[in-house]
Each structure stands twice: as C-alpha cells, then as structure tokens.
Symmetry: C2
Subunit: 384 residues, 2 copies
C-alpha cells in the first residue's frame, strides 16, 4: 500500500442555505479544495452523502456531481454510512490512492437538509436507526441518545452540568470559526434552561440541521511535494460496525465500534492515543462526545464527563477535542461531517486555524460515527 497525503482542503460557510441546491453547495466546496491543492486534474471522486433521496429526492450523485463539477468522464462513487458517510468517503479515497489505481482523488461530503420540514428531516435522520425495531416504535435520535445519557449518568455519576459543558466548550471553539453555523458562545445556564427535547437532553445538547459540504484532495505521499501546500499524511484508517439497534448492545453508554476503529487506526499509524495533539469527534449530542472520549481512550471509561469539567478537552487542555466547534457549533450536514473533520485537522496541522489554532499541533485524529455508533470511522493525520 502506498502512503497517502491530503494536499488540499475546502469548506464553505455552513448553515440554512435556502438559496443553494445540493449540487451548488458541493461544487463550490470542491472547487475550493482543488484550488487549495493547486492540482490541474483529478483522477477519481468519492463522496459521502447520507440520504439525498429523502432530503432532496435525488440519487445517482456520482453522475450528478461529476457532471456539475465539469469532470465527466472521471469515475465518481457515492458512499453511505448514515452520519459517518463522510468518514467512509475519506477511507474509500484513502484505499483507492493506497492501491495505486488513482493518484489524485477528490473526497467530498455533502448534505442538503433544510429543503424539507422538521418532521421530514427527523424521519430521514431516523433511517440511520433500525427502522423495523426502533423507528416504528417512535424512537428518534434525541430519544436514543437520551437513553445513552441516562445510562451514563446512572453508571458513572455523570452530571447534567457536565453534559452542558460539552456544548459550552464547543461553542467557545466555534465562536472562533467563521465557517461555523453558530459561531457564538453559550453558557451552562443557557443549556440547562433550553427547551427539553428528550429528557435529559435539551435543544442546546443537540447538533443542528445544516446544509453544507466539505472536500479534501488526496494523492500518494510520494507525490505530495509537487503541490503548493504542506502535505498532511493519513497515517492510519480504522473502520468498525456494531449492532444498528441500541437494544442489542451490551452496554448503552459505551461505543464499541469507535473503540475498535480507533485501535485499528492507531495501530496502522504506529501511535498511541497520548501521541495525538488534537481531536475532531462526533458530538451529535453532548453525551456522544463524552462517550467518544472514553471509547478513543483519551480518558478511562466513565471519566468523560469529568474530563470536560476539568478542562482536559478544552482548546488549552492537554487533549483539545473539537477545536472547530464540533457538530454542535459548526453544524452537522450529516454526509459532510466526516470530511469537514479532516479539513479542520489539516488546517490545524498546517497552522492555518487562526484564533482556534492548537499550539504545536503535529498529529490529529478524526472520529465520525453513524447512528448510535452502528458504524465508526477513525483516521490519524500527521504533518509531513
């Protein structure tokens, strides 16, 4: 397998983009990445999108997006793994370059979520759960994560305030990210007094509905020096699945697929979790970030709540988590999130992250998951 590097990144402002269609959002972002890399062609495209069928009534994105990007007949593949579709696209692009089949691969992620009503969006997102055993009984994602939160509080003494502190931390970081959907700070009181969605989770514990895209350009690490920006190597890639239904898990508060995917990615990179300088993780709900910091091994099982309270995962902490603002403040266009995490890590490792720059960042890790952790993708990045 060839070593693989990221040589360009692109992301536009995320939010409720009612004046833009899915194809427009994708093309604008892809062009930014192509320009950032300075490549004169691409050999192949892979992109993640969770449910363009339910959100905008359009499938066959391979043809649509290569067409609107003006890249026909370049091969294009769309991949789906619910909210980890972007992470899966990164992995598939990584494999394609590593294999030797293609040299310059555009990896993108996109989701247009605001062209439907709130109920329709909730239904579409619910298709990441087991529709026959969860959806048909009325369970939605806030409800599923609420059960995980209750289990975590019961087993480990995690407090309602600690959950809120995840949102406060990520909005602190997001206030420094001009591309974030909600680039402003909030307080613990604001979270605790916000509308209850699914007890104990309140609206400010939840990531938003977002339109957006993100893109990166990959090439063999051996060729990366040809292009204009410093290369960032993808040192490790790990993927794992778990039961789709939460009811089949042994432990409601533990995300096994992330644990396994992280072990695989770190093993491939020849690193330990302590070697990583910053993390972009899947905080679709505040409880998710707490569970993920444990599954990655940043802290021991049950210590995720305390970690955020003690500042371990803040921008100035020992293990900064979600310097971009995370899904909570940056937004969560589901198919784009996994790629946007890579965009942030690359910007950080290049020293281009502005007010939210993590000092001396040499190695970063992304963790992206689908559903309640039915699928997880973890990637390790290193500055060349």
């Amino acid at each position: 397998m060839r070593d693989v590097a990221v040589i360009g990144v692109g992301m536009t402002k995320w939010g409720e983009l009612w004046d833009k269609s899915l194809r427009t959002i994708f093309v604008e972002t892809a062009l930014l990445a192509i320009e950032d890399a300075g490549v004169d062609h691409i050999d192949s495209m892979v992109f993640g999108c969770m449910s363009s069928g339910l959100f905008v009534g359009q499938e066959h994105l391979a043809s649509l997006l290569s067409d609107y990007l003006g890249k026909n007949p370049v091969p294009a593949a769309r991949v789906e793994s619910a909210c980890s579709s972007g992470g899966l696209a990164l992995r598939q692009g990584f494999i394609e370059v590593a294999s030797g089949l293609s040299d310059i691969v555009l990896v993108g992620g996109v989701e247009k979520m605001t062209d439907v009503t709130g109920c329709e969006a909730t239904y579409a997102l619910g298709t990441a759960a087991d529709q026959e055993y969860e959806g048909y009984h009325g369970l939605t994602f806030p409800a599923l994560y609420a059960m995980m939160a209750v289990a975590h509080m019961h087993q480990h003494g995690t407090t309602r305030e600690q959950l809120a502190m995840v949102a406060v931390k990520n909005h602190d970081n997001g206030s420094k990210n001009p591309l974030a959907q909600f680039p402003f700070r909030i307080t613990v009181d604001a979270v605790l007094n916000s509308v209850l969605v699914a007890d104990p989770l309140r609206i400010l514990d939840c990531s938003p509905i977002t339109d957006g895209a993100a893109a990166v350009i990959l090439c063999p690490a051996g060729m990366a020096g040809k292009w204009k920006k410093p290369a960032v190597r993808i040192a490790g890639s790990g993927q794992a699945t778990d039961t789709i239904a939460l009811s089949s898990r042994k432990d409601l508060s533990w995300i096994e697929s992330t644990h396994i995917a992280a072990q695989k990615a770190l093993k491939m990179a020849g690193r330990k979790i302590e070697d990583i300088d910053l993390f972009e993780v899947h905080d679709c709900f505040t409880i998710a970030e707490i569970c993920v910091t444990e599954a990655l091994g940043i802290v021991k099982k049950g210590q995720g709540g305390r970690a955020v309270e003690e500042g371990l995962t803040s921008l100035q902490g020992k293990f900064p988590v979600n310097p971009s603002g995370g899904l909570k403040a940056k937004g969560h266009p589901v198919g784009a999130t996994g790629v946007a995490q890579a965009v942030e890590i690359v910007k950080q490792l290049r020293g281009e992250a502005g007010a939210r720059q993590v000092k001396n960042a040499k190695r970063g890790l992304t963790q992206n998951m689908g559903g309640t952790g039915g699928s997880s993708l973890v990637h390790v990045f290193e500055a060349e």
Copy 2:
C-alpha cells in the same frame, strides 16, 4: 496492486418477495456466497443499494447488514450509483483487495422495491435522473429511454421488431435460469402487442420491478487456490461518468460512459473485445442493450439492432449477450443487478450454468449502468 479473484457466488430466486424484508434477502444471499466459497471469515463488506431510503425507509445499511449477517465489528460500506450501485460495489471491493488492506471481502447488492406503490417506485427510480431538470418536468425512465430509442431508429434505421427481439432473446435465455423472475419464453408478437408505456417502448421492452440480492466473495488471486471452488480472476475494472441529464448529451443514442469504462477495463485486462466469450449487460430497456453492444464495441455504431436480428448475440451466437436472461427476464433489483451479472459470469466460467451454459467460456464481461448512462461500470473476468 494485487490480482483479485472471485472465489464464491450467491443468488436466491428473484421476484416480488413480499414475505421477506431487505435484510432477510441480503443475508440469505450473502450466506450462499460464503458457503459457496467455503471461507471461514470475512475481513470487510461492500455492497450496492440504490435507494433503500425511498424504497423501505432505511439507510445506514453498513451497520444493518453486517449486524444481521452476524459479522459485527467487520467494516461495511454501502455504495450508490443508481442502477449501477452493484457494479460500483464490485469495483470498490476489487480496489480494497487489490490495495492489500483486506483479504476476504464480501461484495453484495440488494434492493427491495415492491414494498411501495407503483407510483412511489417510479418516483424512487426517477431519482437516478436529474430531478431538477428532468424529473420535475415529468420525465420518467421509460420516457427517457423512449427518446433514445426514437433517436436510434431515426439515425440508424433500427426497427420496432429488432427492439422486440432483444426481449425475446433474453426471455429465451431466462427460461433456462431457475432464479429468474420471469423464467419463460415470449414472442415478438407478444412484445409488439403489449401495453404501450412510452412510445415506442411497450411493457415487454421494460425490465421489471424486482426484489433481490446477489453476492460474491473476493480474495487476492494468490490465495484463491486455498478455497473449494475454481477461482475466476477480475482481470479488468473500468468506471466512467457522463452527464446525468440526457439533454446534455451530444448523441442521444450513444452511451459514452460505457464506451470509456469498457476501454479502461479491457486495457487493464490486456484484452480486446473479440477476446471475450460472453457478456452480461444492462438491458433495463430493449433499446439499452442495443446501445450497449455498440458502446462496448461488439458491433459498430448503429448495428446493434441488426446484431440481435442476425443472432450474433444469442446464446449460440458469436457474442452471447445476457445468457442469464438479463435484466428483462431475470429481473432488476437495481442495486443488486451489477453483482448478479458477476455471479452469472462466474457460474459460466466455472461451467455451472446448466441449460444456458456458453460452450468453452473462458472470459466474460459485465456492463452495468446508472440512469441513462450517467455512470457505467465494466469488469472483465477470466477463468484461472
């Protein structure tokens, strides 16, 4: 890149499977392939599905299918390229094994299409066209292919009877395939007198709505001798895109993406089209097979109608096309079709195709496309 071989195949009876769900259909088929190969484990799964979101209200198939197959935490990826989702899955699996990342990869395709009304199915299939420029003006796939047929008849003198002969040939072949949805013969008169769908295409020019799945097991060719069945090598893989909207094409009767994908696959295999003994191609409508035989180079441009009339593409002809019965008689569960084509080629190259066996078959080719040819996948297979 490592050489890649198919060491196991699986397919169950296709049709209107109202007593089975998507997950059941997939798992039954995957288990057949695993048993056929005799492997004791799998390292990874890739499968194609066009629109489980619109057909059954379920995304996140990576988690769902690995879970129901009892394979958690094995990595699983779902890919989508409309009706060529299965072919794309085959290519992604091929790349993964070729890269060295995984040894034993299960490649599957599945679609459950009959749990919705006819109108809903037509809408779901229509998402393979450009929804903003084609779908919203009322165009459906029979209408799009009808325009291609009219153009072909106008430019090349192709006759209404020649279109019918494609369906008759494929039903002849399909009558010998016990797994086909419609395993019986039809006549030219039956086609010409069947209900008009979109002039000049009649109902017997159209492939049906089908529930079904197909699966193959891949491994490095160097390890293929370990397993119980003769290995079939994937000698070439080609992929290309074209404009999603038919209105943007230079020539309505020519499928450029198939032409390019075939050239790539044959080049990788070091073969010419004359070296191929049999073909499984994407006859979603009778006109499609005619266009595809031309784009592949089996006959010259404009000669596809004459080729079927003269028997060139019949089971006993020089270039047998769709010995399985094709999409027309075997059925067309859209995401499964590309993988089922590979299943047929492998059975033929192993000499296991029974009454429809092509004599002395050493090399086969599959061609799978999305929409009106917005994406195409071509693979070349050779008996080891």
